[in-house]
Amino acid sequence: MSSEEKIALLEKQIQESQETKETILFIVSSVLSQNTIKDVLWQIVDNCIKKLGFTDCVIYLYQEASQCLIQSAALENKTISFQEINNPIKLQIGEGIVGSVAQIKKAEVVNDTSIDPRYIVDDASRLSEIAVPIVLGDKLIGVIDSEHPDKNFYTQRHLEILSTIASLCAFKIDSLYTMEKMQRVNAQLRIAQKIAQMGSWEFHTSTGKLHFHQRVEDMMVKPRPEPGLTFDEFEANLHPSDAKTFRDNWKRFVEQDIAEPGYIRILLNGHQRDILWRIADKKYIEFDKSGIIPGVFLDITDIRNLEKEKGHLVLELTKRNQALSQFNKIISHNLRAPVANIIGILQLMEHLESEDEERPALQQELTHLAAGVDGIIKDLNGALSHNIEINEAKSKIAFADIFQTNVDLLSSAIKEVHPILNIQCKAEFAFGFPAYLNSIFYNLLANALKYRDSNRQLIIDIETFTDVNHVHVVFKDNGRGINSSPSDDKIFGLYTRFHKEIEGRGLGLFITKQQIAFMGGTISAEGVEGEGLTIRIQLPKM
């Protein structure tokens, strides 16, 4: 070889080496700009055909779960567009030339496949093959494979280019694997947080801002110039008495490294949410270097609401139970007593002679007792049927209607007594169970008529008014009265009688008190014997 020829060969080699480098650079840069593994693989196979003149190119990815090589991208020079691989070829490690390359993790060029026993015919028999493993350290990622119909097609240059591409792409594919895995973990975390009504936040020490999920931040500050909230912006959304709790919590963390959960109420979109808030413990994460302090929050509003509701239900049930046990007491004592007396008199009379002097008096007692039992049963019937109607919802009912209904019910007594009724309804409506409200005012009105002072004109003053939370009723009469102060609730006791000379069973005001208590109200009585009685009722507005 002449020196000119040598120079020409050398120049050609330099030229080729330059071209090789440019080809590698082109392929690698186009591959590295891809964002998904799929795109990376297609970019490689596409470039191999276009830039290296391959007739086909296939990439197998190693699937750890099945320990198989899966055909993940494949292209022939005849195919114009990329296609989805419907039935990807699966190869065991060691199977065929590709499997063998994957096993020993070393690239291989087979110049004549017809004499290589490992060769597996794909869609058509081809005579030469190149297979390059994609490996990162010891980790097998996949294999780039190409076949050609001619013998001795693949050159040292091809091997060099493919090996370089494979090793550079190994990093890219591995980092995309990691990223995809992180995206999956992140998605799982998001779902888990959503289900658990949880969220996460970060504090960036460089900007002094708290970062929540964007949606949460949007609910707190609108419009928001840039992501993150300053402490002041965040505290503006806190319940006033919780801002200090939050600051103290933070201070303890910054100064003493104490990360403890704090309970705060945050206004989100005008709705108050109960939040349990916690800074990540240093034992879980080293965050001094990053300047980001992470934490989580838990929305416990629903749980607390449920607890409140439960507490309310328990209270209601307890009240009901108390009312029931009171009625039980009425039956076991107040009804049992006169019945026992009736039985006693009847048995005694059997032992008495027909003309015994005690007989007429006992007979009279019997009549009296029977009437008493009848009265108690009527009272109980009334009280118990009200209790059944309590399944109805509470409703708004006009005082004027309540008073009119009961004046009508007591019309015969009113005609007889001719009381002066002064009714002043500054509060128009009461809120409660209609049956109870009617029963309450029936009892009050009936009592006023019954326990009037026959020496003077009966005057009944009824006034209703409201304050912030309650509806008040003042029911005043100038009847016989009893000595009572507002704190004294003897008048509402079961079977309590004050005017024994007047027919009565001591049940009316007892039941009235039960009914008012049941609706969440209070009742008190104030009076002086011989002057009159004032009953004050307080009912919740809603």
Partner: protein, 128 residues
């Protein structure tokens, strides 16, 4: 002697008449007010130290109920003296009352109203 402490005049009258029928001429005292009963019993005890009456005590009474009456009586006449024994005479059939009666050494029986001539004969063994 039998002393009835019961605010219900009818019930106490039935008891007294039943005793009269069961054991003719047996002395019987009725108190419709337990406080008055306490005062008189204290007087009776000092005046007639040898007498040992049986008490029939109602539970549901205004002002002072049967239990309060027994507690007050225990101060006047300690249970350890084994005198002035009592029986509950109540219209109540409440198991809690029956259990409570058992806690008093003084109370030897729980009678449910009405008190009849048959009841008189049943308790005769406790009368002196």
């Amino acid at each position: 002697m039998i002393i009835i402490i019961d605010d219900d005049p009818i019930s106490s009258k039935i008891a007294a008449l039943s005793i009269k029928k069961g054991i003719p001429d047996y002395p019987c005292l009725i108190f419709n007010n337990p406080k008055v009963a306490l005062k008189d019993i204290e007087e009776l005890k000092s005046k007639e130290p040898k007498i040992n009456p049986l008490l029939l005590i109602d539970i549901n009474m205004p002002e002072m109920n049967g239990w309060e009456f027994i507690e007050a009586l225990n101060v006047l006449i300690p249970e350890s003296e084994n005198r002035y024994k009592g029986m509950i005479l109540s219209s109540s059939v409440d198991p809690a009352d029956i259990e409570k009666a058992k806690t008093y050494q003084r109370i030897i029986q729980f009678l449910t109203k009405p008190f009849t001539v048959e009841t008189t004969l049943q308790i005769k063994q406790y009368l002196v």
